[in-house]
Symmetry: C2
Subunit: 165 residues, 2 copies
């Protein structure tokens, strides 16, 4: 039986989203033929999952960052738009497909990244925010919607900078 990770959904052709895949979800990723996993968490990846990815030819791409925090949070952390722009570059590069985006819950960081992708796809704000809320539910954060609104899609459409240029 297929057991998709929590908050799993298809985003677009070749692009999936979810919460952190548990060990019991790994066979499902194989059944849908995932070729890359784009992880938005900064923490080290579990060894058992790394071994599974390696033996199944799945590339792990980590663009780790903390989620947006409410203004009253001490850290006042805000996601880095340049990391989000690079992550969108990964999604737009079909050689990574099928690719699974995930963070911990599949709600906030993943929701922001997908929201910024919808801006690139020129979706209306209403539809973009509705989709964000569908996955975040009662945990929706206004700072996330602000992040999406402020995101400059031009930064995501630059050709990627090479390390040696």
């Amino acid at each position: 039986m297929g057991e998709p990770p929590e908050n799993f959904s298809m985003v677009w052709k070749g692009i999936y989203r979810s919460g952190f895949p548990a060990r019991r979800n790994l066979p499902f990723l194989r059944t849908i033929g995932v070729r890359s996993v784009l992880c938005l968490c900064p923490e080290e990846y579990p060894d058992s999952s790394l071994a599974f990815f390696e033996s199944n030819g799945i590339a792990l791409i980590q663009h780790g960052m903390d989620g947006n925090k409410a203004p009253d949070d001490r850290t006042g952390a805000f996601m880095a738009p340049e990391i989000v722009a690079r992550a969108i570059g990964v999604l737009l590069d079909e050689s990574t497909h099928p690719v699974l985006i995930h963070c911990n819950q599949g709600k906030h960081r993943t929701g922001c990244l997908v929201g910024c992708l919808r801006k690139v796809q020129r979706w209306s704000s209403v539809a973009t925010f509705e989709e964000y809320r569908r996955f975040a539910g009662a945990k929706a954060r206004l700072v996330d919607l602000q992040f999406i609104e402020l995101f400059d899609t031009a930064t995501a459409l630059q050709p990627p900078q090479r390390a040696n240029s």
Copy 2:
């Protein structure tokens, strides 16, 4: 700018879902290349949409039915499993792809059909019900979950009956 219909999402390769597409959403359906629309409402389709479909080569497939009603509802209506099975046949037939499933809100009838499709795809009940609730939100109906649980996937995997057989 792309304005997807309410509750729009990708279900699987070549399969989309949404609420009833308003006139302002029709151009979006063209941008994603929809070839068929599977409507689960029994009412007549609006003429202006029919004209749009015809001029864009989009086939309208109607498997109209009423949604499931709670046991205390006077009508006690329950969706017809054989219509749902036929609708799944439409979804599994790739010649209809990309296909958009819709009812009125994209919550109940569409949610039941997608839930039954997930059973055919052998998803776990947890993931199937979570997905149903993601779209239905506060309007989730236990009778819909019961409908999905009782649905016999074998009926959906029969080759379609021809009219003259």
